[in-house]
Symmetry: D2
Subunit: 354 residues, 4 copies
Amino acid sequence: MNTFGQIFRLTTFGESHGPGVGGVVDGMPAGIAVDAAFLQAELDRRRPGQSKLTTARAEADRVEILSGLFEGRTTGQPIGFLVRNENQHSADYDNLRDVFRPSHADYTYQMKYGIRDHRGGGRSSARETISRVVGGALAKTALAQLGISISAYTSQVGPLRLEGAYTDYDLSLTETNPVRCPDPEMAVRMAELIAEVKSAGDTIGGVITGVVAGCPVGLGSPAFGKLHARLGAAMLSINAVKGFEYGAGFDGVAARGSEQNDIFDEGFRLRTNRSGGVQGGISNGADIYFRVAFKPVATLLREQPTVDIDGRRATVHARGRHDPCVLPRAVPVVEAMAAMTVLDEYLLNRTVHL
Amino acid sequence: MNTFGQIFRLTTFGESHGPGVGGVVDGMPAGIAVDAAFLQAELDRRRPGQSKLTTARAEADRVEILSGLFEGRTTGQPIGFLVRNENQHSADYDNLRDVFRPSHADYTYQMKYGIRDHRGGGRSSARETISRVVGGALAKTALAQLGISISAYTSQVGPLRLEGAYTDYDLSLTETNPVRCPDPEMAVRMAELIAEVKSAGDTIGGVITGVVAGCPVGLGSPAFGKLHARLGAAMLSINAVKGFEYGAGFDGVAARGSEQNDIFDEGFRLRTNRSGGVQGGISNGADIYFRVAFKPVATLLREQPTVDIDGRRATVHARGRHDPCVLPRAVPVVEAMAAMTVLDEYLLNRTVHL
Amino acid sequence: MNTFGQIFRLTTFGESHGPGVGGVVDGMPAGIAVDAAFLQAELDRRRPGQSKLTTARAEADRVEILSGLFEGRTTGQPIGFLVRNENQHSADYDNLRDVFRPSHADYTYQMKYGIRDHRGGGRSSARETISRVVGGALAKTALAQLGISISAYTSQVGPLRLEGAYTDYDLSLTETNPVRCPDPEMAVRMAELIAEVKSAGDTIGGVITGVVAGCPVGLGSPAFGKLHARLGAAMLSINAVKGFEYGAGFDGVAARGSEQNDIFDEGFRLRTNRSGGVQGGISNGADIYFRVAFKPVATLLREQPTVDIDGRRATVHARGRHDPCVLPRAVPVVEAMAAMTVLDEYLLNRTVHL
Amino acid sequence: MNTFGQIFRLTTFGESHGPGVGGVVDGMPAGIAVDAAFLQAELDRRRPGQSKLTTARAEADRVEILSGLFEGRTTGQPIGFLVRNENQHSADYDNLRDVFRPSHADYTYQMKYGIRDHRGGGRSSARETISRVVGGALAKTALAQLGISISAYTSQVGPLRLEGAYTDYDLSLTETNPVRCPDPEMAVRMAELIAEVKSAGDTIGGVITGVVAGCPVGLGSPAFGKLHARLGAAMLSINAVKGFEYGAGFDGVAARGSEQNDIFDEGFRLRTNRSGGVQGGISNGADIYFRVAFKPVATLLREQPTVDIDGRRATVHARGRHDPCVLPRAVPVVEAMAAMTVLDEYLLNRTVHL
């Protein structure tokens, strides 16, 4: 299933070492001016090689829009797009043809499909998220007209964790450092940790916090279409994600109802926002905030024991160019998935009344 | 969106105080013997009034199968079913017609739809999960033939938390106590806490752990159809759920890749299972385990400040009959959602090869 | 696949001789007053035993609404409904358990599913269309608020064919005769033909013409969601339908473009409507009209040669109670499918602009 | 809605005068060898400029596969593809920017979306069918392994109609003439008619007959997923199609049941095939055959009266390069849509049993 969404739908394709990655956005509202520079800027935030913290694989990741625009505006027709792969070092992966890397998709793809493109992880490569960032940039463009903004930031790297709520930070600082952490001091410490981990040929995980501001009341629906269920599915579909929580999340379970409930004040103002902007699966107008857990990248630049395609003992030692920590580059991906989810629900909400 | 699944699809309907709740299961494989007693037993695990820990609302919750069976076996045709509502005390809710309960769906439903059935929460009532349990019982029946079993248990109530992994407990003990906790001693303490909270007119949350055993390699797919993304969406769609994690989850983010990776031994055996049975979005044959966070129930049997339908200050004091803690009754709902997700992916996996 | 539609979605269940037939309508817009008498009146138009031309099976076909209404108005929640089966003579079908009726679904169901409910055709019975009529009545209720009306009539029975276009008849006369033909003289001849065919233990087919009036410009979409493709799929899903055409249809292929094109006059008025109200897959504001071909019912009240479940020669002689001609009772079904299609597209069209 | 299918899904994009047309095939079974030459050959059958009967627009229509293949075999991952537009004469369409061509999509697109790419019809151009032919070629490749073959031919041009059934012709002759008619004599007459119409600056319609041979019993499903309803929707989604019928179709309605029924002989052999290979919506193993009506192309190489974007009188005179008759080039498109439908249903049928 390579399609995401119901009305605003992104379909993606592409492998790491094939001709390119791309996709089709269907259901983009008509008549919206698209800024090609903004699309590229979003891709640049995800681009490898943007800082010393990321993989050295240097790709321009230039997006070509193939359809759906006329004189700079969306026509309501599907928007095809393509980002060519460049700078592939496929030979770096020759040793992986018959070996399964630990905690990777190698084994499961091979068993499920009976065939896999082993080069650079093939379809399981994080290059697939390029298409999500393009879709997300289009969604953000539409949401901006509605006054809805999406932001995300690195709130934890390994054990280094921002203890405050998102409201405690100046999120405009997120893009001022390569970690994408809005606390500049913490950003320095996180960067140091990532550098240390990298030099050890190891990797590290973390948490990204996302915030949707300006969301109107009424997005999402009862039962299976709860807004937070959609957001959760969106986030859990990103490579390396292991958990999702919104509002008070896991920590809130220990509290009592009398401590957790968000009390309404006159005019429907909420005294608190432990609900995370969603009640009964439907947005209540408050900020939507959530946390996404990323495991440490499975690819290590050191030798690991494993097995080959016949189940016999082997060792694997990744060469290639890999991120020691995906968090910084995953921030725009989290934003993209949130943007597409919210726009899709906004459009669905248009169908509730005649 | 009241439909769940792609091949095995459950569509649900019904409000708390209307004629009944029910649904349609489409895509159930043909030729499977259905045990009506098992369906009813699953509903009985979810039924109110089953112990002192739950709401006193006493309903038999008898399910009537309306179609799709012939001489006790499934025909491949849609299975309609209905559970009549009984023992409604709609008058208990008269005071809620024009008042919005804190942290409930009252406000968001009213704003979204311009109309709502306020009695017993209407569509937002947890009675909607009856339909899920019926769907889940059918899915479990099919999965049993494949050797796949689903179980869940209460692993945390408020601050009382089982510290061990699911493998540390004898899950056959789960149903021996009303909390549905496989550690009998902890179950007693949890029951005491719930009783204490109840007597204070308050509520409390917790965590349910779910386990899928016997799952073959190959369920789930790359990109947006990752098995854990489907499971996460399923769990997050259950009332009161605030978070989902699988495998090492949020705790695993602090570790390094060299500590987290699951190493293969000869014959594809895994030394560890931090991945939680899913790699690259596809089941790897190991147990799938996950944790689901439930907030404390929003309905308190005490007075709370709030606003009315015009945004003016008001107070609300729930009468009705409500659970102080939903965890014990949510265990079969978690199992049901997992069962439907896994069966759906099993069937989808049949389409990967000619 | 027992679900129809994308936003306004009908899911149906039920067999001829099971407890009942019914369904769930999801995506019905909120706040719409529903007239129970109108729903029942639509069902009465489809009901068996309404005239001498139809089957003698006398069923009240009373619909019970199970959810989704509050104080007579739709709440935006799914509308479950049920029509109990009555007056079944299952014993009439005992002889069909192991025999396949010619040109029926008996053989294909048995081969596909390995099991079937042979009584009264089971799921393949035209009783399934009861659920469509209920869904259609709800859709018509919404469309009426938009000034969109749907009508259909019998335009051909066997060789007896109305030669005029729909604009040549007073469609308010359709319901004045049991054939549902707006030409009273032709209606008499058609009724005589049906009576003659019936007395011979035979059956006869025909054509129903449908008209959507008041449809705004803009419903439907390019590529696979063309409005007429949706209508065609809707009609072809009705039992016994063998063909669909709209506008000039099959007859128009022999003309030249210069004869076929609909010329615009000032103010976008069309001089002609050979396009049938749809251009490029999108409604153009003119009446949408189409024709639906129904084969003669396969069930004959006379002996036919056939085979049994093992492929050995047998004979079959339907007892039961069957229609010699389905056209009169299929008219409301055609209307229902058109109404649901148009409402679904109306709602989808709400998502094209922000 | 630019996606077709449920398991095997084609999503298309592209306009006539944009960078190119293309799409994504998702759900293609894994491990199937793909012959690039066959894909190109199928496109060549649809290519403009292939004979004097078609438009002179000469495009190579070279397809580039962007993903989903590894060492020549499908991997189960989405197959992205792109055909660059070449040889566009966009200036030919400058006069159409503010004028609506009669019986075209110009008016409806403009009204629905508020914007349109007027060059060469934009998204409504038949160039969109390139993507269908690519998807169809992939589907045919899979079906060939199953022994299922799809063929289509021109059975009527204007009033010139093959009176025989498909079994009366040697379909291997279809590709021996530019009209794609299996009766060589009739092909000559049809070609003469098309030439005559072309020289008059006019256009003409016709009928294409399609045949699916080797289809196993069991494809399709009851209710809304009837195999012929899927086929009908597929055909009606092709540009210029006005009608669809299968088996005895419209002509069969005048017959009696006793004349129409297909009688089974020993071993489930059918004496006749008036059902067209489908009973109760499910394939019965006999050939599936159907007819598709195409209207005359709306674009005339002569002056026509019309209105401009403000509804004022205007005239339009197409320059560009256009087909006088789409039938010959639509034959591979009909085949492609049938192939994708049948493969999708084949895969769905894999999910009916555990």
